[in-house]
């Protein structure tokens, strides 16, 4: 499986690995609340899931994360502010509200969820619920 330890090959192999899953329907039927911002990448680390989203310019106070069972919801507002008298030459950044809910294929242990927001990247550490963990079955 994808290992990203070789510093020279890291970027390319990671980009290729991310591309591979672009077309997967892993999250099922898609968002159950309106909109699909922010785009998110889902990673697996052992039994647990890590969800990463790019949220540049969104303050922690404008971001809300909710987890229940196997549903993850991200609600927030992104604002883009200028001084009143400014003349705008170019506008590429988008602003607005978002409310996205996704259904994950595993159940999440609510108590163990950790959320980190740094440098415009939101990282959610979602541990798999104990009762949902696979059990090894002895083959006799």
């Amino acid at each position: 499986m994808a290992q990203f330890s070789d510093p020279f090959e890291t970027l390319v192999s990671l980009q290729q690995a991310l591309d591979t899953f672009r077309t997967s329907r892993w999250l099922g039927a898609g968002p159950s609340a309106g909109g699909s911002y922010p785009p998110m990448n889902v990673f697996r680390k052992g039994d647990d899931l890590i969800v990463i989203a790019e949220v540049p310019g969104i303050k922690k106070s404008d971001l809300e994360v909710q987890v229940k069972g196997n549903t993850l919801r991200l609600v927030g507002t992104k604002s883009v502010n200028y001084p009143d008298k400014a003349a705008r030459h170019r506008r590429e950044r988008l602003a607005g509200r978002f409310d996205r809910a996704v259904t994950l294929p595993v159940e999440i242990e609510q108590e163990g969820v950790k959320a980190e927001c740094r440098d415009g990247i939101l990282a959610l550490f979602l541990p798999r619920a104990e009762r949902d963990r696979p059990k090894s079955i002895q083959v006799s």
Binding site: L14, F21, G35, Y82, K85, A95, G120
Partner: protein, 132 residues
């Protein structure tokens, strides 16, 4: 300016470079707003995942070049299972006019957004001419 509309999703813009690259990998063009006030020109660029130490802003021959490297070591040991966007380093360059006071250009990085303030040179600031 805050609008109450829903945020839409768009694909990240990949860099199409005039020069060819020697190192493999894709680069992205950061979304940029440019606005002008009486005193300065401001460039606001979205570069999520770029830390202060991995950001390089250089001015050479009238060209202001911004390079932001993302830290890939954070992805170590993680196996992608579902992805909606790709990641890569950010790069973008702007040609400056000679009306910018180059000595006083300042930069601020906050929540993945870089704000470059380019103060106007003193002689090009607008001034009101009183009529005697």
């Amino acid at each position: 300016m805050t609008t109450a509309q829903e945020l839409s999703v768009r694909d990240k813009k990949e860099l199409v470079s005039k020069e060819e690259q020697t190192a493999p990998g894709r680069h992205y063009v950061p979304y940029t707003d440019i606005y002008e006030t009486d005193d300065a020109l401001s460039l606001v660029m979205e570069m999520p995942g770029v830390e202060r130490t991995n950001l390089n802003v250089a001015l050479e021959n009238d060209v202001l070049r911004v390079d932001g490297q993302i830290d890939l070591s954070k992805y170590e040991g993680m196996e992608p299972v579902y992805t909606e966007y790709n990641i890569g380093h950010y790069t973008r360059a702007f040609t400056l006019s000679n009306k910018i006071d180059r000595e006083r250009i300042s930069a601020l990085l906050d929540d993945g957004v870089l704000t470059l303030t380019l103060p106007k040179a003193q002689e090009t600031k607008p001034r009101r001419i009183s009529i005697g």
